[in-house]
Amino acid sequence: MVNSNPVPPPTPDAGEAAIRAVGLVKRFGPVVAVDGMTFDLAPGRIYGLLGPNGSGKTTLIRLLTGMTRATEGTAHVLGVRMPDRANLARIGYMTQGDGVYPALTAGENAQFFGAAYGVEDAAQVDEALRLVELADRAKTIAGTLSGGQRRRLSLACALVHKPPVLFLDEPTVGVDPLLRVQFWGHFRQLADAGTTIVVSSHVMDEADRCDELLFVRAGKVIARGSGGQLRAEAGTDDLEAAFLRFSGETAVAA
């Protein structure tokens, strides 16, 4: 059970995709942040959004979570067209910043975001903290946690309601290598349990931990596939080189 909130049933036209984008465009004045993206993402897999800073990853995530309205096109999550407030109870969103309350304890933060998502069960809140290995820090004021601990708390707050869809915006930025390994362990564990995860990153060495990658450049998805497929297609062993190859090709094509 994810939560006690009433959630509209999935509409049949969304098919089996957990996340569906059709012709998504987002303009900020003259700037086109997302320039016509269309894709389906299947449930229970980890998708990596890879691209340089400013390529439109965060805006795409904000469109998919309904935090901002699309200029054109549609976004569906679990069959529900976004933005939809009730559907947010089934979506977890870890923002780029930590977004936790520094004056509250780790436990109070998790409890508060749990309540915001409709989770009243204290055991479920504890479970989220245990998952990120912060159970022993529940009574520590968040402002006094280390940077890595705060990042983990931020993750706990995003999955306290056991969402079937989880968006993670640069979750491993500023995180040490050991913690990074732990994070990916959590993500895999959740995906195995059926959670669809979308991770944005500009670090290519994390890419192989994803089931599938979407190369994002200048607001467009320029390539899609597993790390192996993309390397093979680009004819290189190096994912970074593959990204550049795909970028160059589209630049020439355009």
Partner: protein, 382 residues
């Protein structure tokens, strides 16, 4: 609106505030210190210590007689009088502060002759000078009248409300209480909500099923709770005076300002609380236009100082220039100050039309600001 989510928001806001010691001090201790200081200054500054120097330009018998009469009249009025050797000596006495005012008698002074007596003050404090001039003129007139063998009629002052000799703080207390509550509640909410925006927690909150209305309601209830406590403490402090008897070398003191209140303190509480709720929403609203905490403070001269000047806190609304009069109607603080004065001084209750209007306007402003605050929490945050 989900009561559970609102409850979670209220709990969060109150826990955060409870742990924020400097903010608690700002809410509960600062207003007490400031109002205490204000009262102390106002009450103890009431008796001006007049030191008069009299100098005569001439040396005839008329001058000596009048100078002697004046001395008697001024001393009789409780002033300290010295005779200066010359006009220049009197002038330098005022200059160096050994005299607060000098009376310069002309050389040609004689009864029945139109001559001018000059009153000399330092000129650095116009309102203080005016008080001295009034007291000294009164004494001079009395002295001259008695030198002519007549007596001036004595003047008696009565007031419709209260007594003329009553507390100089009485007309200020309601205004000062209202202003400081408004000021501190605005500041605290503005800064708190700004942290919510810049800390990324608002963005995160908007990614949950929590609605904007729930956020505003949570804030109003959470901060309203603290505002209620603040108002209760400040009003108690203003109205009560607990006498502490002398202990050993310590003299007896009074704790509290002991302002007399003619009407219901409970009604006064309601008025200030409505004002404070409006200040919560004002803080949320204005934090939209601020990027840093400093900018929230920069709004004070723009938003709060005009209200301070135009709401009858220091200057009576009736004495304002007519150009500014219409603006008074747009100052929420003016309605609170008016209602509190009615309650404190006139003893007005809810049956008085003025008080009804004030309360209705304050309630409407609180609702209006809440709606505006709601509008400013967009989904497109950042």
């Amino acid at each position: 609106m989900s009561p559970r989510r609102v409850r979670a928001l209220v709990r969060r806001v109150t826990v955060e505030l409870r742990r924020d010691r400097p903010s608690l001090a700002l809410l509960f201790i600062a207003p007490i210190v400031v109002t205490g200081l204000f009262t102390f200054i106002l009450r103890d500054a009431s008796g001006p210590n007049l030191r008069v120097a009299i100098a005569s330009g001439g040396s005839g018998p008329a001058a000596a007689l009048i100078s002697g009469r004046l001395d008697g009249a001024l001393t009789g009025a409780g002033m300290t009088v010295t005779q200066a050797a010359s006009v220049d000596a009197a002038r330098s006495a005022v200059q160096d502060g050994s005299a607060s005012i000098a009376i310069l008698l002309p050389a040609d002074l004689a009864p029945g002759k139109g001559s001018t007596i000059t009153l000399l003050t330092k000129g650095l404090d116009p309102s203080g000078d005016a008080g001295q001039l009034a007291a000294v003129s009164q004494a001079i007139l009395g002295g001259i009248a008695s030198s002519m063998g007549t007596a001036l009629p004595s003047l008696a002052h009565q007031t419709v409300y209260g007594t003329p000799s009553s507390d100089p703080m009485a007309p200020f207390a309601p205004a000062i209480v209202a202003f400081f509550v408004y000021f501190f509640v605005y500041l605290l909410t503005g800064v708190s909500f700004l942290r919510e925006r810049t800390g990324g927690t608002l963005e995160r909150l908007m990614a949950t099923p929590v609605t904007r209305g729930e956020v505003v309601t949570g804030y109003i209830l959470g901060f309203g709770l603290f505002a209620m406590l603040q108002v209760a403490i400040l009003l108690t402090w203003a109205l009560v005076a607990i006498r502490v008897p002398a202990i050993g070398p310590l003299p007896d003191v009074a704790i509290g300002l002991g302002i007399a209140v003619a009407g219901s303190p409970l009604l006064a509480f309601l008025v200030v609380l409505l004002l404070a709720l409006g200040a919560v929403s004002l803080g949320i609203f204005l934090s939209t236009f601020a990027r840093t905490e400093l900018q929230v403070i920069q709004f004070i001269p723009v938003v709060l100082v005009p209200q301070f000047l135009l709401s009858g806190v220091l200057f009576s609304v009736d004495s304002l220039p007519s150009v500014l009069q219409p603006l008074v109607h747009f100052m929420p603080l003016a309605y609170a100050v008016d209602a509190l004065r009615e309650i404190f001084i006139r003893g007005a209750d809810l049956s008085v039309a003025d008080v009804q209007l004030d309360i209705a306007v304050l309630a409407a402003v609180a609702v209006l600001f809440a709606a505006v605050a709601f509008r400013t929490i967009r989904r497109d945050v950042v």
